[in-house]
């Protein structure tokens, strides 16, 4: 970020000066980084631009009509379909916040509190195991547990806690939140754990020696230093939560219509421009969110310190 800002500054000194500065900057930069950025641009940015462009076309009888039109965008808002993006955003943010509230203390304990090497290894292994299993298989199991004749309801009925099966356990927003929290826990914990793990213990001791209360050590030392991990965790959690498809489909029972489900439905009607518009809309929302987060994070410290490895 700072590099780009630095490269942009000489622009005030005229076009030629700007180009020269840019050239000098590029020469300074590591060739590998340039190559990676270029590949990234071709593989990620270009398709997104193409996608965005597609939302201004229309499809008639399975053929795309390459005449610019705003119909898709107008339809998106006039039919209220854009509401799925708000619902998706609400659920994704709720899940991310809950996730952060659970994951941070856990990561802190795992990195600094857990003194047993074996215990830590077991915990880390447990966190990685879910990655080896297919998402659908991991999620579908919950249906057998949360259903009306599922494990929990059977136990509740058996214990006499309830007279009739609890319906909202499955096929509800609660179930979708639950499923997402379970599946997105590792991506939130891991980066935070790594960031906290990197904090030198002597810093914590110094803070203690200088008379800081545990809360002050947490808020003034640990939280600022773990920010890069927190941001990474939030991104790794929020992104998949916004794109969640398996959990709303399997645990929401069709009543929790999220952006991915809406996109899939449009795809089934071969409405590619609608697919493109919805996707573009989410990307814009996501960029706005990340931008906001970056601004907030800057108040606490230097969030770009997570890029320091590249700057080397």
């Amino acid at each position: 970020m700072q590099q780009i800002a630095g490269a942009l500054q000489p622009a005030t000194g005229g076009r030629e000066g700007f180009l020269r500065a840019l050239g000098a900057r590029l020469a300074d930069m590591n060739l590998a980084v340039t190559a990676i950025l270029l590949t990234w641009f071709t593989l990620v940015i270009v398709p997104i631009v193409v996608l965005f462009a597609f939302s201004f076309f229309s499809t008639v009888q399975f053929r795309t009509v390459y005449e610019p039109t705003l119909d898709t965008w107008i339809g998106l808002f006039s039919s209220g379909r854009w509401e799925v993006t708000l619902r998706t955003l609400r659920i994704a943010l709720t899940v991310t916040v809950i996730e952060l509230l659970i994951a941070f203390p856990f990561a802190l304990w795992l990195a600094k509190g857990c003194r047993s090497g074996t215990g830590r290894a077991v915990c880390l292994a447990m966190l990685t195991i879910p990655f080896f299993l297919d998402m659908s298989s991991r999620t579908i199991i919950w249906r057998a547990i949360l259903g009306q004749s599922g494990l929990i309801n059977t136990m509740l009925l058996g214990a006499g806690v309830v007279d009739t099966p609890v319906e909202w356990l499955l096929y509800s927003e609660v179930a979708v939140h639950f499923g997402m929290i379970v599946s997105l826990f590792p991506p939130m914990v891991m980066p935070i754990y790594l960031a906290i793990n990197l904090i030198d213990d002597t810093l914590l001791e110094a803070s203690n020696d200088l008379g800081a209360s545990p809360w002050q050590t947490l808020s003034r030392v640990i939280i600022p230093l773990s920010l890069p991990g927190v941001i990474a965790g939030v991104v790794f959690c929020l992104g998949p939560a916004l794109a969640a498809w398996v959990e709303p489909g399997m645990l929401g029972g069709g009543f929790v219509n999220l952006i991915s489900n809406s996109i899939e439905s449009a795809y089934s009607a071969l409405r590619y421009p609608v697919v493109a518009a919805l996707s573009a809309f989410v990307i814009v929302l996501l960029l706005a969110l990340l931008g906001g987060m970056f601004l907030i994070a800057r108040r606490f410290g230097d969030p770009s310190s997570s890029l320091s490895a590249i700057r080397g």
Partner: protein
């Protein structure tokens, strides 16, 4: 992925085809390279591109009966992908016959990608005796009634239910109302409804029309206003708590029935069969309905380019074979499909010494088809108003 009416999945079929292919190769090698190739060249080869559901497990009986070999290249079940292949990739240059679910002929026919069917072709001997329920259905005709293909397989989908929970006799042949799905107090909160406008919107319109609440010009292709009427009704029912869940996949149909999460579900017939394997015979039943069915079918169409090729006679032989008793009986026995001319299938089985159980199963399928197919309505994968229907379905989901 399983297809709609099969008890095999595609991976199994592919493996089986590959094994068959390998044994055929081994056979060729045994006969001796050169003579083997020469022999293969004598027999005309018909190349089919389409959904693998139409394939026989083994094409050898057809080769024996017709002296024509067939080779089926499996396409995606996704209509968009299939249409792109035919239109964009010029599949007609290499394929002779296309096989796909109802709807593509409405677009690919008039646009010149399919050749019109010559009903009077001398090889199409079984055309005359094929029932109009099949040969004049929207599966093989376009909206103007022009004939583009022959029917291959199909079924009339309704809903699965637990007779015991609804107080019905398990062997009842009684025609039930779709109200069990949408409005019955007995089933409120105990219904699973398919989450796809293509599959679920039509049956709701069918029900509304039958009870006189609305009229629709074409249930398979609802105009924006008609789609709104249906969506309004469904939103009202959703708010009343009629639906326990909206399901997405075939596996879910089976699961919802098997673990008793719902009493009624508009599902594919094989889901009921699978559930009964777990729950016992006739624990669940597939309904006969008063109002009608989601009738679907696959048609076989001739590639426009093939009309100029010299194998047109062989192509019509294969099309005729799709109407024949042998194809019918083999498809029904090996994959559980129904189709046109079920009676010929029964005849074939009896003449070829199939066991009593197999013949009885074929007869049952014939009776079922006769009872169901005279009722509305034929679905399509390509409604003109797909956009409006999908948009209204989203409104229902978001309500």
């Amino acid at each position: 992925m399983k297809d709609r009416f099969s008890t095999y999945n595609q991976a199994q079929l592919t493996r089986r085809e590959m094994l068959a292919g390998m044994s055929a190769l081994a056979g060729l090698a045994a006969v001796g390279g050169i003579s083997g190739v020469a022999k293969a060249q004598d027999v005309p080869l018909i190349r089919i591109y389409g959904v693998p559901t139409a394939a026989l497990k083994d094409w050898a009986p057809m080769e024996k009966a017709l002296g024509v070999r067939a080779e089926l290249n499996g396409s995606s079940n996704d209509v968009g992908v299939f249409m792109r292949d035919v239109m964009g990739a010029n599949m007609g240059d290499s394929a002779d016959i296309f096989v796909f679910e109802s709807g593509t002929e409405d677009i690919l026919g008039p646009q010149g990608f399919y050749a019109p069917l010559d009903e009077a072709h001398s090889e199409l001997t079984l055309w005359e005796r094929t029932s109009d329920d099949w040969k004049r259905s929207a599966v093989v005709q376009d909206r103007e009634g022009k004939q583009w293909g022959v029917p291959v397989i199909g079924n009339a989908d309704s809903f699965g239910y637990f007779p015991e929970k609804l107080g019905l006799s398990p062997d009842s042949q009684e025609e039930l109302s779709w109200s069990l799905m949408f409005e019955d107090e007995k089933t409120r909160g105990r219904v699973a409804y398919g989450n796809a406008y293509t599959y679920s919107m039509g049956v709701a319109a069918l029900y509304l029309q039958a009870k006189g609440a609305a009229t629709f010009s074409d249930i398979a292709d609802l105009t924006p206003e008609e789609a709104k009427t249906v969506a309004d009704f469904l939103i009202e029912r959703k708010k009343a708590g009629q639906f326990r869940t909206l399901y997405g996949a075939f596996e879910e149909q089976i699961q919802l029935l098997t673990n008793g999460e719902v009493d009624v579900i508009n599902c594919w017939e094989p889901a009921v069969r699978e559930a009964n394997l777990a729950l016992g015979p006739d624990a669940t039943r597939y309904a006969y309905t008063k109002e009608g069915y989601f009738k679907w079918g696959h048609g076989a169409y001739i590639a426009a380019q093939a009309a100029d090729r010299d194998n047109l006679g062989a192509i019509y032989k294969v099309l005729n074979y799709f109407l024949s008793g042998e194809y019918r009986a083999l498809q029904a026995r090996d994959r559980g499909y129904a189709g046109p001319n079920m009676d010929l299938g029964v005849e074939y089985a009896e003449a070829n010494g199939w066991n009593a159980e197999e013949v009885a199963a074929l007869k049952a399928t014939e009776a079922k088809v006769n009872k169901k197919f005279s009722k509305p309505y034929v679905s399509t994968t390509t409604p003109d108003n797909a956009g409006a229907m999908e948009e209204e379905w989203q409104r229902f989901l978001n309500a």
